[in-house]
C-alpha cells in the first residue's frame, strides 16, 4: 500500500490557469465570509428586536426605522425572526461584495498577503495579511452606497421628514441631510471615515501579526 500526498504533486494541477484557481478559491472564501457576516447581521437584528420588545428604554425607534427598509421587522418575536432572515440575506450579500472588492487585486499582491509558515502534512501554512487600501475601498464603498440607497429610499417613500434618527447622522457626517444631495455628501464623508478606520485596523493587525511571527 503506497501513499502519495496529492497536495505535493504539482502535476495534478497542470493546465489550471490563474483565473480558474483564483476563482474557485474566491468562491469558497466569499461563501465563508458571507455566511459569517450574514449570521452576525441576522443575530444583531434579532437581538435588537428582542431587547426592544423586552424594554421600553432602548431600541424601539431603531427597530421602527430599520423596519422601514425591512418589511416585517418589528419589536416582537415574529418580527425578530423576520429580522434575522433579512439580516442574514443582507449580511451575506454585503459580505460577499466586500470580500470580492477586497480581493480584486490579489494576484498582483499575493506575496504581500501571506506570512508563510513551515509546511505541515504537505500543506504550507500561512498567516493572512490584510491590504488596507483594498479593505478600505470595499467597506467604504459598501457603506457609501448603502447610505445613498437608504436615504433616497426614505426620500422616495416620502417619509424623510418623519425620520429624525436619519437626520441624526448629520451630527457625525457634516453636510449630510435626508435628501439626494445630502446623501451624496454624507456618503463621501462616510467613505472617508470607513476608509481611514480600515487603514488603521489593517496597520494594527499587520504589525501585530508580523511582530508575533518574528517573535
Amino acid at each position: 500500500m503506497e501513499r502519495v500526498s496529492p497536495i505535493d504533486d504539482g502535476t495534478e494541477l497542470d493546465g489550471i490557469s490563474a483565473r480558474d484557481l483564483l476563482s474557485s478559491t474566491l468562491r469558497f472564501n466569499t461563501l465563508i465570509f458571507g455566511v459569517i457576516l450574514g449570521v452576525f447581521a441576522g443575530a444583531s437584528l434579532l437581538a435588537l428586536a428582542l431587547i426592544a420588545s423586552a424594554t421600553d428604554r432602548f431600541g424601539h425607534l431603531a427597530v421602527v426605522l430599520i423596519g422601514v427598509f425591512l418589511p416585517g421587522y418589528s419589536a416582537d418575536g415574529q418580527g425578530a425572526l423576520i429580522g434575522f432572515l433579512w439580516g442574514f440575506v443582507f449580511g451575506a450579500a454585503l459580505g460577499g461584495v466586500i470580500y470580492r472588492i477586497n480581493s480584486l487585486r490579489v494576484l498582483s499582491q499575493l506575496e504581500q498577503l501571506v506570512v508563510a509558515q513551515p509546511p505541515a502534512d504537505g500543506f504550507r501554512g500561512a498567516v493572512l495579511r490584510l491590504h488596507g487600501p483594498s479593505l478600505g475601498t470595499a467597506i467604504g464603498a459598501v457603506g457609501a452606497v448603502g447610505l445613498i440607497a437608504t436615504t433616497n429610499l426614505l426620500v422616495a417613500r416620502g417619509t424623510a421628514g418623519a425620520s429624525p434618527r436619519a437626520r441624526l447622522l448629520a451630527e457625525v457626517l457634516p453636510g449630510y441631510s435626508v435628501s439626494p444631495v445630502g446623501s451624496i455628501i454624507g456618503a463621501i464623508g462616510l467613505f472617508v471615515v470607513l476608509y481611514l478606520f480600515c487603514q488603521a485596523f489593517v496597520a494594527i493587525y499587520n504589525s501585530l501579526a508580523g511582530w508575533r511571527k518574528r517573535g
Binding site: M1, E2, R3, V4, S5, P6, I7, G10, L13, D14, G15, I16, S17, A18, R19, L21, L22, T25, L26, F28, N29, I32, F33, I36, F40, T55, R57, F58, V106, L107, L110, E111, L113, V114, A116, D121, F123, R124, G125, A126, V127, L128, R165, L168, E171, V172, F197, A200, F201, V202, I204, Y205, N206, L208, A209, R212, K213
Partner: protein, 121 residues
C-alpha cells in the same frame, strides 16, 4: 490560457487557506471599536448642545448596555473601554469562525486525498 508555475499555484492556495492571527485580529478590532466610540463621544461633547438641551441624548442610550457610560469626557473613556471589549469579542468570533471553517475544509480535503491514494490491493 496563462498557466501558472507550481510555486505560484501553491501561493494562491496558501493565501486561500491562510489563517487569521486571532490575537492580532482581536487587538486590532478592540482598538478600532474603542477609538470609534471614544471619538464619536468626544466629538459630541466638544460640539456641545444648545442651553438646556442634553448632549447626545441618543448616543447616551448606550448606557442601557454599557452601565456608567455617558456623553462626557469621562464617559468617552468608559465607552471606549466597553466598545473595546465588545469589538474584541466580535473580532475573536470572526477570526475564530474564519479559521475554524478553513480548518474544517482543509481536514475534509486531507481525508478525501488520503482515501483517493490508498489502494484496496
Amino acid at each position: 490560457m496563462d498557466e501558472l508555475p507550481a510555486d505560484r499555484r501553491e501561493m494562491i492556495v496558501t493565501w486561500a487557506f491562510a489563517r487569521l492571527d486571532v490575537a492580532a485580529f482581536v487587538i486590532a478590532s478592540a482598538a478600532i471599536a474603542a477609538a470609534f466610540l471614544g471619538v464619536l463621544t468626544l466629538g459630541l461633547v466638544i460640539k456641545g448642545a444648545p442651553a438646556g438641551m442634553p448632549v447626545g441624548p441618543h448616543l447616551a442610550q448606550l448606557a442601557v448596555f454599557f452601565p456608567g457610560y455617558t456623553v462626557t469626557y469621562v464617559g468617552a473613556i468608559v465607552g471606549a473601554a466597553y466598545a473595546g471589549a465588545f469589538g474584541g469579542a466580535l473580532g475573536f468570533v470572526l477570526a475564530a469562525v474564519w479559521n475554524f471553517a478553513h480548518s474544517l475544509v482543509l481536514a475534509v480535503i486531507r481525508v478525501q486525498a488520503s482515501l483517493a491514494t490508498y489502494s484496496i490491493d
